[in-house]
């Protein structure tokens, strides 16, 4: 039996969500066929696992017995990071897990299991293993035999606790600031989840504005990441043009009624304000062409320093559901925009940049900005989609958006207009498992280049 079939044997308790009993969950763990696992979380009562089945979300849930549930990690390496987070945040323990060490709670918190049913007070006098490297707030420990261990816990802000009991609009204050690599993407994925939960239909005009801003953000973040990578390898002229381009883009946004870094524009059911997204799309698409021509010409400066550096193969990218530029540059073609209406799928098709190294990622960012220019040119004319279907309106929903650094997902459950439980997934979380092998054997400078090339965000990873 396939994993998807096993999940569907459970009781349907939400849109694309099925509750499995202990036996069903065990069958899922032991099933030979696996689905891409995007994430896991807990709501204090149940543990949930979000899978992709035929590129659609499918959620399996189970009720821990005595605070314990059977670990998915023996079959799903991607589960390791999530099970460690669940233990830190909710106190639910994964039995037979590959790794039970704390990930977020490194001893400084004032509460143990802060999202659990009964948090315990803590003195918060921690003792970190090492110290995080700046600016990533990530400690990369090089052990014996070249083994690399990552230590985090420095960037966690407790956002899931902060949004509980808030209205979706109130929660956007935090969700809209999860990570600067996805101001639009996080807000949009969250709002889509809320809209599904409430059964709110979205007009094509609103969807149009949202996808324009998502592409504008993609260009802005790609320019930032290109500049960071270029600086790492001394390709200063490439960095100069990328940095200047990003500032020009910010000014363009303001001229068309959008905030400089596209913050705070998306709200549940609509948009904030009335930005001229058609004008912005037209302006940015025209502006990008010469900018990208310059960047493309200058990118050869960086090639030698990036070739074969920080390589990630397609098997590992697929197994760990690594998304965004990093996944696609390794040959995992997933792009959540394919699941959204209004996109020209031909434009989104991968274009032969599959080396999986830092050079492939930089090259793909340039290609994706070319694609963004084409998409924005199209968005500056018509947005030919039917009114979007309203969600189920059963109080819980899943939403997603393809941000500049990958697919962002949210699950929310609302009760009486406020958030009872929520969870989100930034693409950075999938990098946790693969980064050690990507930076193995590298010195600090090489490691910093790899982190820049994947657009690593500990704010997104740990939020």
């Amino acid at each position: 039996m396939q994993a998807g079939q096993i999940i569907r044997l459970g009781e349907r308790v939400g849109p694309s969500r099925f509750l499995l009993d202990e036996e069903g969950w065990r069958a899922l763990v032991e099933c030979a066929s696996v689905l891409p696992l995007l994430g896991m979380w807990c709501d204090g009562v149940e543990v949930h696992a979000l899978f992709l089945e035929a590129e659609r979300p499918l959620i399996a849930s189970t009720v821990p017995m005595g605070g314990r549930y059977l670990s998915l990690s023996p079959s799903y390496e991607a589960a390791v990071v999530h099970e460690r987070m669940i233990q830190d945040l909710w106190g639910a323990e994964a039995m037979s897990a590959r790794d039970v060490s704390p990930l977020l709670d490194i001893g400084f918190w004032r509460e143990i299991s802060p999202l659990g049913v009964r948090p315990l007070a803590s003195d918060g006098v921690g003792q970190a293993v090492g110290e995080p490297a700046l600016p990533y707030l990530l400690d990369v420990e090089r052990g014996r035999g070249g083994r690399v261990h990552l230590h985090g816990g420095y960037a966690h802000r407790g956002i899931l606790q902060r949004v509980r009991g808030r209205t979706p609009e109130q929660a956007l204050r935090q969700i809209g600031r999860v990570t600067s690599g996805g101001f639009v993407a996080h807000s949009l994925a969250f709002c889509r989840a809320v809209e599904r939960a409430l059964g709110l239909g979205i007009s094509p005009r609103v969807e149009h504005a949202r996808v324009v801003l998502l592409e504008v953000e993609r260009v802005s973040v790609h320019l930032h990441d290109v500049a960071c990578v270029a600086r790492c390898v001394g390709a200063d002229l490439l960095a100069v043009h990328a940095e200047q381009g990003r500032e020009e883009l910010a000014e363009m946004c303001v001229a068309f009624g959008v905030t400089r870094r596209v913050t705070d524009m998306v709200v549940p059911g609509g948009m904030r304000g009335d930005p001229d997204v058609v004008g912005l799309a037209r302006e940015v698409s025209g502006w990008l062409e010469p900018v990208l021509a310059r960047l493309g010409g200058l990118s050869v400066q960086a090639e030698a320093g990036l070739h074969r550096l920080g390589r990630l193969g397609v098997e590992r990218a697929s197994a760990l559901a690594v998304g965004g530029v990093t996944g696609r540059a390794s040959g995992r073609g997933f792009d959540a925009r394919r699941l959204s209406p209004g996109y020209d799928l031909g434009v989104l098709a991968p274009r032969g940049v599959l080396g999986g190294d830092c050079w492939a990622r930089l090259s793909l960012r340039l290609r994706e900005m070319e694609n963004a220019a084409v998409l924005l040119e199209g968005f500056s004319e018509v947005f030919d989609v039917a009114p979007l279907e309203a969600g189920g309106g059963v109080g819980e929903g899943v939403g997603f958006a393809e941000g500049a650094r990958g697919d962002v997902w949210y699950w929310v459950r609302l009760r009486e207009g406020v958030i009872e439980a929520a969870w989100g997934r930034d693409p950075a979380v999938a990098l946790w498992a693969v980064l050690p092998e990507m930076v193995r054997g590298l010195d600090e400078a090489g490691c910093a280049t790899v982190l820049a090339s994947v657009g690593m965000s500990m704010a997104g990873m740990e939020f």
Partner: protein, 148 residues
Amino acid sequence: MRAIFDAALWRGRRERVFGGGGPLGLFHVPTGGCEGCAMEVAALRGAAFDLARHGIVFEESAGAADILLVTGALTRGMAPVLDRIWREMPSPKGLIVVGDCAIDGGPFGENYATLGGLSGRVEIAWALGGCPPEPRAILEGVVGLVRG
């Protein structure tokens, strides 16, 4: 937290730090938050703003810096790191904070994982709000400090 910032040391030496003589060395520490302000600081360091012309340099080590520039809500895990970095800096030295989070936590006030912002906890030479603030505003503020 009191150990992080030696207010007595800072008081009375402001003039020496900002008063002139060589470029002003900044050391940037992001202490949490969404990384948005850190991105703006990165933009400030980039080509679009000619820092050297304004007598400002970003140092690669805290030991070479005059000013500690903090962005982001202060997480509890980063507090001892910030403490260590401050101690590493030679005196006289000063602290500037950039962005709402670094000032008062912004959307990330005190909870189990964060201490919120630095305002009211330590002596701050200059603070710039915004979420995130523009790099040009950061530049103008720092230049104002350089010029006294």
